[in-house]
């Protein structure tokens, strides 16, 4: 089962910031694969959602970009800026609170397995 894009839309920025918190630097394709791997294919980040988000994070100064040439093409590696590190903590805390609220709102119990 994969989750609907609507469900993921509001969390993508947090996912990217968290990935960059845990990994020193990453490029777009690597992020999509890492998310697939960590969620056992349940979350598949689309290119159409990921790259606009990375572009916005870069413009906001939350991520830094290093460029590497692979033959004729360019690979953009993203890493967190100092502002981005603080933002990542803030977004993660917000999302954790949100999930806790949803669990209590929907009366869900954590699944133990």
């Amino acid at each position: 089962m994969t989750y609907s894009p609507e469900l993921l839309k509001g969390t993508l920025k947090t996912i990217v910031l968290k990935l960059l918190t845990d990994n020193k630097r990453m490029y777009g394709y690597e992020m999509t694969q890492r998310v697939k791997e960590l969620t056992l294919d349940k979350i598949q980040i689309t290119e159409g959602a990921l790259y606009p988000t990375l572009h916005a994070l870069e413009a906001d100064g939350l991520v830094k970009v290093e460029i590497e040439y692979i033959g004729k093409r360019v690979r953009k590696y993203y890493s967190l800026s100092p502002t981005g590190k603080a933002k990542a903590k803030e977004k993660l805390k917000e999302l954790t609170n949100f999930v806790d609220t949803m669990i209590s709102l929907l009366d869900l119990k954590p699944k133990l397995d």
């Binding site: 394709y29 159409g48 916005a56």
Partner: protein, 173 residues
Amino acid sequence: MYCISDQQIDFILADLHRKGIQIEGLQSNLLDHICILIEENLEEDGDFEQFYFTTIKTFYQQELREIEEEALFLLQFQHHLRFSRNQFFLLLFTIFIGPFIAGDLLWLINSVDSNGWNLPFEIWGATVVYSLFPLLILLVLFLTPERQDPLIPKKSTILLGIKPFIKIIPARA
């Protein structure tokens, strides 16, 4: 593993450009992503163009330029408040008519204290008319056919903020 040539990279770049991806950073990201997919999934003697056109179609719903539009949208309107059409009208009525109705009702209640419920018809009449006025406008707005509502089309999104103060984004077909 397939090895992409410089000519094929130029081909992909030209196609991205033709399909509406103008921002250089986005072009680089998409090019690299596509190249990796091709290198990892296409057989050495595979058909490059066919694989490319099949892959690129999975990147968008209707057109590739959606990706660039989304990037520009996130940049330009990230500090704007986003409302659905219903929320926007609710906000308008709350701001412009709400205080008037609240004031009118308070005045009515105060009048009841001094005169009892035996109030002149004008007071009841005005209250009823002004209270129902927003409802009437809402009925007109929501029952108007699509073609006669070009300003704020149904299912559109309204953004409020600074520069621009208001932006109306019609729903995608």
